[in-house]
Amino acid sequence: MISLKNKDIISILDFTKEEILYILDISKRMEKEGSSEILKGKVLANLFFEPSTRTRLSFETAMKRLGGEVVGFDELGTTSSVKGESLRDSVKIIEGYCDIIVLRHFLEGASRLTADSVSIPVINGGDGASQHPTQTFVDLYTIKKVKGELENLSIGFLGDLKYGRTAHSLAYAMANFNAEMYFISPPSLKTPKDYLEELGSRNVSYHEVESLSEVSSKLDILYCTRIQKERFSDPVEYEKVRGIYKLSKAVMDELNVKEDLKILHPLPRVDEMDESLDATSFAVYFQQAHSGIPVRETLLALVLGAIQ
């Protein structure tokens, strides 16, 4: 019997394969059933020390669609941390106001520190270049929906694999499902050694290449990431790599790919995907974005014990 009541959602590494599949099954049910009142009387605190309109709004929408209330902030300037208050003190005070915390922070590991400091459940809404587990559940849900299963898929990760936390988290998750992984990036944005070590220790078969055309014919899923300007301290380095991979309908027509290849992207996009791609059968990234609501509804309901 799987119970996720009071479980923190900090890192995809904290979840077993069975728990992942359970969350995806409940998400499917949640998408069918729509709104309800199962979180009536519960309060979510959205603590966004780093701006992210999309993640914040999707949690807010998910909570409200289940009858709950939302408080919070999305600007560092409005918090006591600018007065020098420690993160631990801030969250220990806020836990008295709410039933669950969603935290986004610019420091890596801030969510784990928060979870260690409070007794209510904490969900990591993205911390620095580290983990973004709820996006990973959204990605997994989309892959399962469009491919029918998660087992034995070939998945390519394209773009910024150095700072792209969603790619790191998804790679860890797909390690549970016997995936063949292809990491496609320029040398300066290769996947950090840590992540490859972790995958190696779990006997994942992976390959690192610079060109998409080298491996495109093998892929069932192509996971694109944005090259994130905000992660570069040197703008010259950013200019060197921005737009290095640009997918469009014309590019896809030239590439040798499987007919049922599906392209995911956590969005927002900048130069890496042209709008001409949107109408092709490959594009599922808007469907992916919309899956954010049922998946986050599920996670909120499970950790708050509204679904047993």
Partner: protein, 149 residues
């Protein structure tokens, strides 16, 4: 006759089987400059197991568990001999603990443990060669990344 390369001590601790390159890192851990008794340091001594090794003999000192834990991260092959009346009364090999708190610094400058008042904490994922994972940011560190505090 066996050649004695570093003189014996009557009471105290001998740390042996330190890979030569790490000898002075172990010296630094133990704050040897503050000890007022005999300290003998051997460096680049021949060793069948390690090629060359270091040895540190400290008069009148017993190591704390924290010092042993620190040494295990820097010199995982080290052995500790406790000497009384010029005899070895206890001998043990250092052992890397399953988790490590406080005395290491995460090498990730963006890790929350380097910005907030919080004890650093690491999980050991491999003992030889040493690989540890930060409890907070989950970054992995190896021998070259380890910085004791």
């Amino acid at each position: 006759m066996k050649k004695v390369e570093v003189s014996a001590i009557e009471e105290g601790t001998v740390i042996d089987q330190i890979a030569s390159r790490n000898t002075f890192k172990v010296v630094n851990i133990l704050n040897i400059q503050d000890i007022d008794q005999v300290v003998l340091i051997g460096y680049n001594l021949s060793s069948k197991k390690l090629g060359t090794k270091g040895i540190i003999k400290i008069g009148g000192k017993l190591l704390t568990q924290e010092e042993v834990n620190k040494i295990s991260l820097i010199a995982p092959d080290a052995t500790v001999n406790i000497i009384k009346g010029s005899e070895v009364v206890e001998k043990f090999k250092v052992a890397i603990p399953e988790s490590i708190e406080e005395f290491l610094k995460c090498f990730n400058p963006n890790c929350v443990s380097n910005h907030q008042k919080v004890k650093s904490r690491f999980h050991v994922i491999n003992k030889n060669p040493i690989r540890i994972r930060c409890h907070y940011c989950e970054r992995h560190m190896g021998e070259d990344d380890i910085e004791l505090v």
